[in-house]
């Protein structure tokens, strides 16, 4: 089997490397994503607190604090590209299927992020000057930002539960939140992500933004403490929703993570700074131990998460790879012939009337213009013998451009005007299509034929060969004989035998002389003009 037959079978890296890279890059992306969510939420909460307390210097600190958002979010976005790239290789099947099922929400991430980023920037800029504007920007911006992890966790939860895909797809995703196997897990997972964002966001700012404002440390310390506590409380029921997937490795990783989280609580436990109250209480500094405890908790939890995900998606991916390999085997023998066809296609340039006629018209009208192309066999109304048409060029142009309703003749507005003109040129040259009408000089129609025309033919074709009002109601309508005729022999054939599938009936019961005369009459209108 040629692995190039299906590019999905081409692996740029061994699986282990892909897993490792995916883990590291996703971890980096998630870290910055959590930092922006945490920073934005905390910035907004602090803004509200200080606004209510009328604390203007506080707002300046908040604004400085939020100023980091621009950098953090830029990194979060750009770091997200690598895991996006990698997951499309490592878990192509689950990723494309789940995001496809989740399409609308998945795509909503883009406008949501744009709105969130722009408005959070606006929030930051108006914070110290126009509080109301800041309030509006903050509510919408932070709200939009908080929606994004909900979508990501939803997509990932669905990705890992392929048993639900069919049910999810059938309902169009409407019962997403209420699916018992999905809803609770999704909700808890989302809250867990937000909790992590608050822990990491507060910790980042504790080390980054309090150097010149030590009075702010208690606020951030208590946020880390509270959010870590919430993480443990949310984590327990979340663990139950994935209980079926747990293995020893996962349990070990989660235990390390939980222990680290408990140690964070211990380090940050509320306590008196000194036994004797100092005249001015000195805020406790940022504990250095957080610098290894929090990354440890983060990494351990991420490892646990990765193993749960691998357990769910690996077998599926392997099955899909096997399916693709099997399919590629059936395609292999046809690779060379398909390339030959492609090479031919590259040589076929639609820039001249002959090619366009041979490619686009001949399948029905035939290379000789006798309506005998291969596709014409499938038509109830036979394709016109274009070789026998004698008509005005402008009229044929409109027929080609707009098609003939009720027949197989499609519109060719899918060619630009120059191409249509080229094909008209080609038909003019090949078939003499725009030549003189074919009327025998020595024949004057007798009155019998005139009467038939006036009483029968003119119902559709008009006394003067024009399309009557009734004719216009037909599908397909008759041609305008003032602009469109056929060679004498072809017109005689149509009048004698009718035009199958249309309203034009056969007149073979009439005497041959009358048929000949009718043919002449039908061809006089254009000649007169």
């Amino acid at each position: 089997m040629n692995k190039w037959t299906d590019l999905f079978l081409l692996h740029p890296l061994p699986e282990g490397w892909l897993n490792g890279l995916l883990f590291v890059t996703f971890g980096l992306h998630l870290l910055f994503a959590l930092l922006i969510v945490g920073t934005a939420v905390l910035g907004f909460v602090f803004f509200l607190q200080d606004w209510l307390d009328n604390d203007q210097p506080g707002q300046h600190w908040n604004s400085k604090f939020l100023h980091t958002h621009l950098g953090l979010k830029s990194l979060a976005v750009v770091l997200g590209i690598a895991p996006l790239l990698l997951i499309q290789i490592r878990y192509s099947y689950s990723f494309f299927t789940a995001t496809g099922l989740f399409a609308y929400a998945w795509l909503a991430v883009i406008p949501l992020l744009i709105v969130a980023f722009l408005l959070i920037d606006g929030f930051n800029h108006s914070m110290t000057s126009r509080a109301w504007l800041a309030m509006i920007c903050g509510v919408i911006g932070v709200g939009a930002l908080l929606t994004v992890p909900a979508i990501f966790t939803g997509a990932l939860a669905l990705m890992e539960r392929h048993a639900l895909w069919a049910q999810f797809g059938q309902s169009g995703g409407q019962d997403f939140a209420t699916l018992p196997a999905l809803g609770p897990h999704w909700l808890l997972r989302y809250l867990h992500v937000i909790g992590a964002a608050l822990v990491l966001g507060a910790a980042f700012q504790l080390f980054f933004s309090t150097r010149n404002n030590p009075e702010k440390t208690p606020r951030l310390r208590s946020w880390i403490f509270g959010a870590t506590l919430a993480q443990i409380l949310i984590g327990i029921p979340l663990l139950f929703t994935v209980a079926a997937e747990l293995t020893w490795i996962i349990v070990a990783a989660l235990t390390v993570g939980a222990t680290a989280a408990l140690l964070v609580l211990w380090v940050l436990r509320p306590r008196q700074s000194a036994s004797e109250p100092a005249p001015r209480p000195v805020p406790l500094p940022a504990p250095r131990s957080l610098l290894w405890l929090l990354p440890l908790a983060f990494a351990a939890m991420l490892v646990g998460r990765q193993f749960i995900q691998d357990g769910a998606m690996n077998p599926l991916q392997a099955a899909n790879d096997a399916y693709r390999a099997e399919r590629a085997k059936t395609m292999d023998p046809f690779r060379q012939p398909s390339l030959d066809a492609y090479a031919f296609k590259l040589k076929t340039v639609y820039d001249n009337g002959d090619v366009i006629y041979d490619q686009a018209c001949a399948p029905c009208h035939g290379l000789e213009g006798k309506g005998d192309g291969p596709a014409a066999r499938q038509l109830i109304i036979p394709a016109e013998h274009v070789a026998d048409i004698r008509a005005n060029r402008e009229y044929v142009y409109t027929l080609v451009r707009d098609g003939v309703p009720g027949s197989g003749m499609p519109y060719f507005r899918l060619y630009d005007r120059e191409k249509i003109e080229m094909v008209l040129d080609a038909m003019g040259k090949r078939f003499g299509m725009f030549g003189k009408t074919d009327v025998p000089q020595d024949r004057e129609p007798e009155s019998d034929a005139m009467i038939v025309w006036a009483e029968t033919c003119s119902v559709c074709h008009g006394v003067e060969g024009e399309i009557t009002a009734f004719g216009h109601t037909l599908l397909p309508p008759p041609p305008d004989l003032q602009q469109y005729t056929m060679t004498h022999s072809r017109a005689l054939e149509v009048i004698t035998n009718g035009y199958p599938g249309t309203v034009m009936p056969p007149f073979r019961h009439l005497p041959q002389e009358v048929l000949e005369d009718l043919t002449v009459i039908s061809n006089t209108f254009r000649a007169v003009k």
Binding site: W4, S338, Y342, R413
Partner: protein, 449 residues
């Protein structure tokens, strides 16, 4: 439509702002560093913040958006590209990340460095430009492959795929185009908003306009080289690609519009170089609009003309590999069993469910099925009969040279034809002949004649 809007927005911002505009700002800052006066850096400083916000918020996110949308529209296509071009993309990610980090440093450290260490600031700036250029170069190889894989389908080596004929001209075209849009935006800003002495404004206008004119010239040459390397079988559809069915019936419209656009752009640059701020102000507005139009036109042509192929020589636009189509044809196999997902919401009879699934697989990538939708199939089948639709589906590739062929068996083709016939009827585009409303009146009129 979503992808088109997202992509155009991304191209305008990533090329125009992230490459072009930022390069101009860094160039201006360098002028001050080189001792040409403080007003250059003043211009850069006042525009840096907004530029960074737009680049990092809208530009970066719409870039990721292209991934999101293509992953949903064409998972097989984008998935194939990712498997083939993993390394260029991965390295490009490195370039992106460095680009963002350097941009952030440039932005956050400006106030600290501009006074004391302007040289370091300048170095940071040009480091950023280097990374931006590298990422533009890296992506051009992949974009070029999608139109001109040249020998790759036969040889199937990475080098053939990546170093394809339109790679180099596209690099120059994208860089020149980006710098042109960036310098045009800066010209417009200087003409409209600059506050300073006349001489200062004049010199700034002259530099921005000069860069703009130069870029238009480089862009024109590289566009010429680029298009000369696109196979004629694709290129011949360019007018239809841009003008679509109705406007393409006016053959001179598009060339004339392009000529006017180039004229306006050259004139704007010239006026800026001549330091006529008032005329420049007026000309900048149509020039900006026309340059966005030209970006849209270029991307539209590039995406459309390769027509039936998503990846020429490998995969059709509907994500069916060329070899699979032939395998299905030759073995007279059915295509439905190969489809793993069929949308059945229980409201259609089984034949129509099958027809709908075949439509989704064969046609859904370009045609919608909703009245008023983009390229709605209902309008496309207007006036046709069921038998003719069956015939037309068998020759789509010939009829519309940018349409994919149908993949499936003969009975399946009829299922598909029945489905689109039903849609055409439902939407009122296929009419069944009706008896005239007042046959008696018609007869009377005939008698009177």
């Amino acid at each position: 439509m979503t992808i088109a809007m997202d992509a155009v927005l991304h191209v305008v911002i990533s090329h125009g702002l992230a490459i072009g505009f930022m390069t101009m700002l860094i160039l201006f800052q360098t002028m001050t560093y080189a001792g040409k006066g403080p007003h250059w850096a003043r211009i850069s400083r006042s525009l840096l913040g907004p530029a960074v916000v737009v680049i990092t918020s809208v530009g970066a996110v719409t870039g990721v958006g292209i991934w999101f949308i293509t992953g949903i529209l064409a998972p097989e296509g984008i998935g194939s590209l990712i498997h083939l071009f993993f390394w260029p993309w991965f390295i490009e990610w490195g370039a992106f990340t460095s680009e963002v980090i350097l941009l952030l440093f440039y932005y956050y450290l400006w106030d600290r460095l501009a006074e004391k260490h302007p040289g370091r600031l300048t170095a940071l700036g040009w480091g950023y430009v280097t990374m931006a250029v590298i990422s533009a170069i890296l992506i051009s190889g992949i974009l070029g492959f999608m139109l001109t894989p040249a020998g790759w389908p036969w040889g199937q080596t990475f080098d053939q795929a990546y170093y394809n004929p339109t790679f180099a001209p596209q690099v120059f075209l994208r860089l020149a185009g980006g710098l042109a849009i960036g310098s045009l935006l800066l010209t417009a800003w200087i003409a409209w908003r600059f506050k300073g002495t006349r001489e200062e404004r004049g010199s700034a206008l002259r530099l921005a306009g000069g860069v703009f004119l130069g870029c238009v010239a480089v862009g024109a040459v590289s566009a010429w080289v680029y298009f000369s390397r696109v196979p004629m079988t694709f290129l011949t559809h360019w007018k239809f690609a841009v003008a679509t069915s109705y406007m393409s019936q006016k053959p001179d419209f598009l060339p004339a519009l392009n000529a006017v656009a180039v004229g306006v752009l050259c004139l704007t640059g010239l006026v800026a170089v001549l330091r006529w701020p008032v005329v420049c102000r007026i000309l900048c507005i149509p020039a900006i609009l026309l340059s966005v139009f030209m970006v849209m036109e270029f991307e539209r042509i590039r995406e459309f003309v390769r027509g039936p192929y998503l990846l020429p020589g490998y995969m059709y636009a509907n994500q069916v590999p060329l070899a699979e189509k032939l395998a299905v044809d030759e073995t007279k196999a059915s295509y439905l069993p190969r489809m793993r997902w069929v949308d059945d919401n229980g409201t259609l009879p089984p034949d129509m469910v099958a027809g709908k699934a075949l439509f989704a697989a064969n046609c859904g990538v370009c045609h919608t099925t909703v009245k008023g939708g983009l390229n709605n199939i209902g309008i496309r089948v207007a006036g046709r009969t069921l038998d003719s639709l069956n015939a037309i589906v068998s020759i789509t590739e010939n009829l519309g040279p940018f349409m994919t062929p149908f993949t499936g068996s003969e009975p399946e083709r009829l299922l598909l034809a029945s489905y689109i016939y039903m849609l055409g009827k439902e939407q009122g585009y296929i009419k069944i002949p009706q008896a005239p409303k007042a046959p008696a009146a018609q007869a009377a009129a005939r008698e009177a004649k």
